[in-house]
Symmetry: C2
Subunit: 504 residues, 2 copies
């Protein structure tokens, strides 16, 4: 048996790992009732059936049912099964929509954060929901060949080299740096030698290192508008002054004669985040010339360039010249899994020694066994094979989601910069709606979409309303139900009439 309720509960159960399993099953069922997913007088599935569908023990479901009954949410009639109560208990715990970010968390007056800490909290945007339809930017972590990687890790960990157990201040495991240099030269046309690579914990640590090692307080940094909130928050807490620069179909588009020269320029040339455009060759050259002329550093964030479906990935900006003022950064979060926390930087030769030293002082090196195993995983060809496989898979999911939008909403909802790439696409909304409201409503019904407006900075910029829909971690058949919920949310927000297009 494969029911909608089962799908709904499975998705919700995966979104949190807080509390015991029976408590989570209880919470999900209660939320389904309070949110109207299960309306009064609906008959609940038999405990044995639901247990099968959720892959939990029957006792877990029985306990949840018993608790729901005790609290008045459901009623059991011997011989006739279990039903959602006609009238819900008066004094249930108020379950409002989960806030889209923790920015609204109330801070105890006594806790006295710093001004920079408070300011960061105001802009906090990391979501507690990192799985299911339609979380953007999360790869399908279940498709990774864990057994293969585990075999390598396990072999190397049995009698590990001492060098892999102690601190490293050489910029990370040598073998991984070698494997990456080879990979990046070929796959991304990056101009680099092994020594130029510094292994990081991911994009955030790379931006943190660069913004502290190369920038002082109030130094200016250009960021794409809209752009990645995570990088902005790091730059912000490190005291940099953020100048949002508009993007168009050719990528970042700064003024010809800017009044303020930035110390740092943060760009996503291969696949602009979040809109999806590609930085044109003429703009790339202009940007490099500008940086060289004014002594600015460019951070090239190449976060998901591996996933381009219709053609070869575009080569990197860094590779256009010899030793350009570019710090190229990448991550395995999108290609392997986020919690692996391994990323890399390719730094200009003159920065290698100082950045290695500063990285060792700030973070101390480590995780060398995992890095060593990853090197072997790459050298043995598993990494390239995994990427090829995922590219096909994501291509299919991408096409399917486009098809859903085309068929049930209309092509006017597809953002024009959506190209055949990446792990998410942008659903464009009319300017008169509030995308934050819509994503809040969708989230309260178990569907995660991120409002596009929250990726914008600055008060004067024209803000496009929209929703980021991640398709990478959702199988095609699992898109349909959440998509119908999303459509319902759009209808309730006046974006569509109920007669608009076909029903899902």
């Amino acid at each position: 048996m494969h029911t909608l309720l089962g799908d709904y509960l499975l998705q919700h159960l995966q979104q949190t790992n807080e509390g015991t399993l029976p408590a989570r099953v209880f919470n999900c069922l209660r939320d389904a009732i309070l949110d109207g997913v299960l309306v009064p007088n609906t008959r609940l599935p038999a405990s044995r059936d639901l247990a099968n569908e959720l892959h939990v023990s029957r006792n877990t479901v029985l306990n949840a049912y018993e608790q729901l009954r005790a609290e008045g949410y459901i009623q059991a009639h011997t011989g006739r099964g279990t039903w959602v109560s006609e009238s819900l208990p008066d004094c249930y715990i108020e379950v409002g929509p989960t806030p889209i970010s923790t920015a609204t968390t109330k801070i105890d007056q006594n806790c006295k954060l710093s001004n920079r800490g408070e300011n960061l909290l105001l802009h906090a945007a990391a979501s507690p929901h990192q799985w299911g339809a339609f979380v953007p930017g999360v790869p399908d972590v279940t498709e990774f060949p864990h057994a293969e990687f585990n075999r390598i890790k396990s072999r190397l960990s049995r009698q590990p080299d001492i060098a892999n157990l102690i601190y490293s201040n050489a910029g990370g495991c040598l073998e991984l740096r070698q494997a990456l240099a080879d990979y990046l030269r070929i796959a991304r046309s990056v101009n680099c030698e092994t020594d130029q690579i510094i292994i990081t914990e991911g994009i955030h640590q790379a931006v943190d290192l660069v913004s502290r090692a190369l920038c002082d307080l109030s130094d200016h940094v250009w960021i794409e508008n809209p752009g990645y909130w995570g990088a902005k928050n790091i730059l912000r807490i490190n005291g940099l002054s953020i100048i949002p620069v508009p993007v168009d179909a050719e990528g970042i588009n700064p003024e010809e004669q800017p009044l303020i020269v930035p110390r740092l320029i943060f760009v996503t040339p291969s696949h602009q985040y979040p809109l999806g455009s590609h930085l044109s060759l003429s703009r790339r050259k202009k940007l490099l010339d500008f940086a060289k002329k004014h002594g600015s550093w460019i951070i090239e964030d190449d976060y998901d360039s591996e996933f381009r479906f219709s053609c070869q990935p575009f080569p990197s900006l860094q590779g256009l010249e010899d030793n350009p003022p570019v710090i190229y950064i990448g991550t395995f979060s999108k290609t392997i899994y986020p919690a692996l926390r391994i990323g890399y930087m390719v730094v200009p030769k003159q920065l290698v020694q100082p950045l290695r030293t500063i990285a060792a002082e700030l973070y101390r090196g480590g995780h060398l066994l995992t890095q060593r195993a990853l090197a072997e995983f790459i050298v043995e060809g598993h990494y390239a094979a995994h990427i090829r496989r995922m590219r096909l898979l994501y291509n299919k999911r991408h096409k399917y989601l486009i098809e859903l939008i085309h068929h049930y909403l209309g092509d006017e909802f597809l953002h024009e910069y959506n190209h055949d790439a990446g792990l998410h696409l942008v659903l464009k909304l009319p300017t008169y709606v509030n995308d934050v409201e819509i994503s809040r409503l969708a989230l309260s019904r178990g569907v995660n979409v991120r409002p596009l407006s929250q990726y914008y900075s600055g008060v004067n910029a024209p803000i496009q309303q929209g929703l980021l829909l991640g398709f990478a971690c959702v199988q095609e058949q699992d898109m349909i139900f959440p998509f119908s919920i999303l459509k319902q949310c759009l209808i309730e927000n006046g974006v569509l009439t109920t007669f608009h297009k076909a029903n899902v």
Copy 2:
């Protein structure tokens, strides 16, 4: 066969993993010749014997010998073996003593670091040498039950939970936080619930989080003098103003009526780093009262409190009161191995939510599979058993090193705060010597000791000369040879006469 030369080479080979093995063997032999460890006309061991001793192939040694011969360092006489040349080549590559820190690395003028970056480089102190006699603060990583830990990791990684593969913003793996709460309550008398624990990458990340989330630029921070360089560097790059506070036999000893109230107080109450005193109860109470009165936060760094040999570990400062203004931080770097990069903070309840959120924004959570495995390792009792075993082992090594000092140098060289604890001890030197010079000389001969004077801050403080000697990662029999080198360095620096005490 077990030769002194073999010991020397083995130690040097372990200190670097840069370059191929033959290149490293060549470099070590060349250094031995240039440093006078192998004097002219010394006969080198047969290649087969040396290969056996170094656990490398005979070809590796033959290649190194051939290269040395080609460059004029050694001469081969058929039938009479291989000898160090009488006169060394004139134009060999100048191999000066390895700098004790990378602070002196010359920076290319074009690389234009930030002022804070340059300032950090000036204070950089992380050593590239992290193994062998007498590196302080490094545990014996070869004694950890890797097979046991690996078995757990491997089982959990085969078909990992999705929740352990994606970002976490709950402060780390729930099971590890639970296991730690139980452990810290019992072993360290810490007052805490699971929710108060935030998993970190280690002490550095904890200090980084606190100094940015709770302190603004130019806020003042008290640090012990002498104190941990790593914490100071993090505080420094985050713009805090450091006030060094002297320590005595009862630990940190601030003025009764300080002119400037600090926002943050960084202390090591259980085992003052690096001198070894223990913060007395009356000082603890005074410090807590002071912090509560003035709204300061105390960071309690409990970095190696597990290793107290003669009595029970002292309970934590944090546990003295209910919800004190204390952020308790600890690490597995000293108890398991440094490259594991797992540490923890116990934060006051009112700080849990904001610090979790800020940590997620700055670092994004991850490494959850390793954290999950560590939880199981602790819960199954392996962690406590490992600590008990290492305590006995370190106790023996500690006693042995004390005995060497007592016998060959004299008890006046033992610092009075050396108690029966930790992973290092302090060798006290007369004020007229230069401990930096001595450690440089010792390092050029393959012995790692850190100069005590470099742990001091501020111009007006009286600076004690001395050397930190780590004993944890050296077996007793492997202490003798490096200790004799160290003694020779002391003699050459006028600390001892050649007739002083017995020969090693």
